[in-house]
């Protein structure tokens, strides 16, 4: 897989434009974070890439092939999707839950059981779940279930992984570990596109940030460029504290920008 391309994309929700004039090209091997304030259209864009809604105008191309014309089965094998606030409806065993990610590879013609088992084991190991594999999901904590669902999406081993807030329910250790794993998956030649509200994590781990605000793509570039002071003020209305540790820069959302919100009471 070489590229995922959006050309002149227009996405609407019940007739109202949510995102318009979107153009971007994502390459294999990139860990891309999709950031933006609530209601900016991040989930809508992810759903369009997951083929759960069709664009009102414009095109989405995966390696030059129109996403909408691809067969359902091919798309399911190539593009994995983790919805926002995902849930499990039945108390499956954790390894069975993760194995659902292999469904697209299990065709009527048969499947490669060894590849399945490897993908499941890799996903469980990546999410540090190997020890819980035989537990029922209703006996796990919320964060463990969130990791299991992320492992399910990773088990697809799609060329593209679309993850809507994959680390929102995780504790700090697992947030850091998960970001590292996602980055490692990208480095191994896959593309990861994740919606993230945590700008500190985004700026530290992402290769690239797509910043959505005001119904358009406000910025597209490495974190230092896309999450500039000006962009943070205009997209989120915040001011960030910046620093560096061990040669890498970090940012910390600090306070509302002067024109936004009341002044602090201290």
């Amino acid at each position: 897989m070489n590229s995922l391309v959006a050309q002149g994309l227009l996405l609407t929700l019940s007739g109202r434009p949510v995102l318009s004039g979107l153009d971007f090209t994502l390459a294999a091997g990139e860990f891309v974070v999709l950031a933006g304030p609530n209601g900016a259209g991040k989930s809508t864009l992810l759903r369009a890439l997951a083929r759960l809604r069709s664009p009102a105008a414009g095109r989405l191309l995966l390696d030059g092939d129109d996403l909408g014309r691809m067969s359902r089965e091919t798309h399911a094998r190539r593009v994995a999707y983790l919805p926002q606030a995902a849930t499990v409806r039945w108390p499956l065993r954790l390894d069975h839950l993760v194995a659902l990610g292999r469904l697209p590879h299990r065709t009527a013609k048969g499947w490669d059981a060894a590849a399945d088992a490897q993908a499941i084991a890799r996903a469980l190991a990546d999410m540090a779940l190997a020890g819980l594999a035989e537990r029922r999901v209703d006996t796990l904590s919320g964060g463990e279930v969130a990791r299991a669902l992320l492992a399910r999406a990773l088990a697809v081993e799609g060329e593209v992984s679309l993850l809507d807030e994959p680390v929102a329910a995780l504790d700090p250790l697992h947030q850091l570990a998960t970001m590292q794993r996602l980055r490692a998956r990208a480095c191994a030649g896959r593309m990861v596109l994740a919606v993230l509200h945590d700008l500190t994590l985004a700026s530290r781990f992402a290769d690239r940030v797509l910043l959505l605000a005001g119904g358009r793509l406000l910025a597209d570039g490495p974190p230092a460029v896309a999450l500039s002071d000006a962009n943070l003020a205009s997209a989120f209305g915040i001011v960030a504290e910046r620093g560096a540790r061990g040669g890498s820069a970090y940012l910390l959302p600090w306070e509302a920008a002067p024109m936004h919100g009341p002044p602090p009471c201290r």
Binding site: R51, V79, L92, D95, L124
Partner: protein, 341 residues
């Protein structure tokens, strides 16, 4: 290392599922043969053999023309209800989905009662099952439309409302029926029973149930994917519209067919999948066929019980399943409530 450890783990589950099916089949065969021995005339195994081998024509007639069709009809209706419940629960991702609770059976009953009331059933033997089927289809489509627009709680409440409306209209038909004999016929039919059902009834019901079951072949994968909800399920390559159509059509055929065969037998579709679920590791796709077998076993046993219970007149089958099923349903709701806390 883990890769090698995984494969046996899941094939253990597959083997457990196959073992469950074998045991259910054995138990079903046992109950069916026991069932053949008991009835208005009890038979010893020797007499049973005399009937089967045809050496005693009177016993053979009782067995083949009266008892066997009834026993098989019970198993077919039970299988239809168990399968229907399991498929609907998988599609709606809700353990409370069941043709009885969702009003599907009540609307099917209304259709059948309308056929009896307007005398259509006397004109053609197909009128009753077809109108029961039409009722089931109408109700399922309406519920599906409601399910797309709102959550599962709304769906179940709508089902309850739909069922109440159908019951009220059915009561109206009984109320307005021309003579006491006709209204008694309607009432008895509604309670659900296999009494006096014969080969004709079996042959009438079988095609609908078989078609419904055939439609459900291969939907297991889609139901498994829906464990993750509709969005993630679709991202796994599931054609949701197609899956919905198949399951709804199948549910209508199964529920309509069972109502046409045995009247209003409630709670089987709710209880059976719930009992089977732990044995298939809660996977909705693996639940379908064991639920059909367990439903057949449950209803065949219940029918045997109503014939054996020492009551003045034979207890109605639907009354027995409701007596067992309703407390069970309450237990299920309390359990779900505790889980949500």
């Amino acid at each position: 290392m883990q890769a090698t450890a995984k494969a046996p783990a899941s094939s253990t589950i597959e083997r457990a599922g196959a073992r469950l099916c074998r045991r259910l089949t054995l138990a079903l065969l046992l109950v069916l043969s026991l069932s053949l021995c008991f009835g208005a005339v009890a038979m010893t195994p020797a007499q049973l053999w005399a009937g089967i081998s045809g050496s005693d024509p009177a016993l053979a007639a009782i067995l083949l023309e009266i008892r066997l069709p009834r026993v098989l009809l019970g198993a077919v209706v039970g299988a239809a209800l168990g399968l229907c419940g399991a498929a609907l629960q998988g599609l709606l991702q809700n353990p409370l989905a069941e043709p009885g609770l969702l009003g599907v059976s009540a609307v099917a009953s209304l259709g059948a009662v309308a056929a009896l009331y307007f005398g259509l059933a006397a004109v053609s033997t197909l009128a009753l099952p077809l109108s029961a089927l039409a009722g089931a289809l109408l109700a399922t489509l309406l519920l599906l439309w409601l399910a797309r627009r709102s959550g599962s709680l709304t769906l179940i409440l709508s089902g309850v409302a739909l069922g109440s409306l159908a019951v009220a209209l059915t009561a109206l038909a009984i109320n307005l029926s021309p003579n006491p004999y006709a209204s008694a016929e309607l009432v008895f039919w509604l309670m659900g029973s296999l009494r006096d059902r014969g080969l004709d009834d079996l042959l009438l019901v079988l095609p609908f149930v078989a078609t419904g079951a055939l439609l459900l072949r291969g939907v297991g994968r889609g139901l498994d994917a829906l464990t993750l909800g509709e969005d993630a399920g679709q991202s796994l390559g599931i054609d949701l519209a197609r899956l919905r159509t198949r399951v709804v059509l199948a549910a209508a055929l199964l529920a309509g067919g069972s109502v046409a065969g045995a009247g209003g037998v409630g709670f089987v579709g709710l209880v059976v999948p719930h009992l089977v679920r732990p044995f298939v590791a809660h996977r909705p796709g693996a639940l379908l066929w064991p639920s059909a077998l367990a439903g057949a076993l449950l209803l065949a046993s219940a029918d045997l019980a109503v014939r054996l219970l020492p009551s003045g007149s034979e207890l109605m089958l639907g009354v027995l399943t409701a007596l067992i099923g309703a407390p069970f349903f309450l237990h299920l709701i309390l359990q779900l409530g505790r889980q949500q806390q």
